[in-house]
Amino acid sequence: MATQDSDHHAVANADGDETAAAGQAYFDKIIAADSRIEPPDWMPDGYRKTLIRQISQHAHSEVIGMQPEGNWIGRAPSLKRKAILMAKVQDEAGHGLYLYSAAETLGIPRDVLNDQLIAGKARYSSIFNYPARSWADMGAIGWLVDGAAICNQVPLCRASFGPYGRAMVRVCKEESFHQRQGFEILLELANGTPAQKQMAQDAVDGLYAPALMMFGPPDSDSAHSSQSMAWNIKRFSNDELRQRFVGMIVEQVKVLGLTLPDDDIRFNEETGKWEYGELDWDEFNEVLAGRGPCNAQRLTRRREAHENGAWVREAATAYAAEKAKREQVA
């Protein structure tokens, strides 16, 4: 038992069955009341593991997600767009850090998570394994990819694990700028030359299905969904969120004067839900299994960035040690 229980001092529960039974009862009560679990609280092993998996995958996605856009910073068409893109990419780094910080409160050290990512043992959102081929992709990524992320993340602000919910509140506040700047890139291109409009349409065509797949597999194949809903981590199923997102973009695309590459989109009056064409889940599984167009490149870049940053970390450590020594002498 620990008496220190700030967020980052995970509490060991070795007091036996009695503690576990009492802990479970207390946990159940908190969940039933739709209140929040905080790091020092007793929690079932499965709950802790699920959260570590979900939060770390989420953090890795933010970090890897910097690459497709980082790739275009040097080629942005104006200084304004360059500054905007840099700010967005910096935000994504921040999102990664908020989420690693939340994951750490569950007792998993950040270095371990980082090692899992660069060793290729961790998952991240499959969307970031697609290439960003044109400037218009910067628009479609902001509009569709950040848009899908927002749709997914807004309900996570109410996740039952306190640090996760709080990180998501911060993330969601920042995401809305991401989506809008992407939408504006597309809007400008769509109102430009025919070639620019075509480039915008191609970007939407290419990213539509991968963005829809960001919500995860269909409910019928979703391994973790129902338990996560019971724990109030997830509030809506993958398919519920996906159809909600389709309903939003089907209107927004009209403002752009572009089309979505799906002829089967319709609103079902009976169910009150949006329907869309079949998605290629075999492709999704291939990308997830590491065989997408950019998986290898993304991991290589991540590993290089980590290795190239080693001297900075070493210098910072040495500087702090030297300064501490001098302060002691003084």
Binding site: S6, P40, I108
Partner: protein, 104 residues
């Protein structure tokens, strides 16, 4: 268990954890915003500025070593906080007879 003591991973960076508190405007308290790793307090402050105040969210920052925080025992919620219970008379709402009396 202190998670800082269990770090084993790559990079050789074994930096302590800092808890970050942000004062969002004059007249308000510092509020806990999150945490970060940094080799010393100065670098923790700079990192905190970049991480938690990219949009003018703060006019002042505190960084506190996570290991310096002493918290109440999570397993003793009941006993530790029970004394105010049964003491409703510490709240204004306990006094109902004066209801309707103005400016009271």
């Amino acid at each position: 268990m202190n998670t800082e003591d269990t770090q084993t991973g790559s990079g050789g960076a074994h930096w302590p954890l800092w808890e970050i508190f942000v004062r969002s405007a004059r007249g308000l308290s510092h509020v806990h915003a999150g945490s970060l790793h940094a080799p010393d307090a100065d670098m923790a402050l700079r990192n905190a500025r970049d991480l938690y105040t990219r949009r003018n969210e703060g006019v002042s920052l505190w960084v506190v070593p996570a290991s310096a925080i002493i918290a109440s025992d999570p397993d003793a919620k009941g006993e530790f906080f029970e004394s105010p219970q049964g003491k409703d008379y510490r709240h204004a709402t306990y006094y109902t007879k004066s209801e309707g009396v103005k400016h009271l």
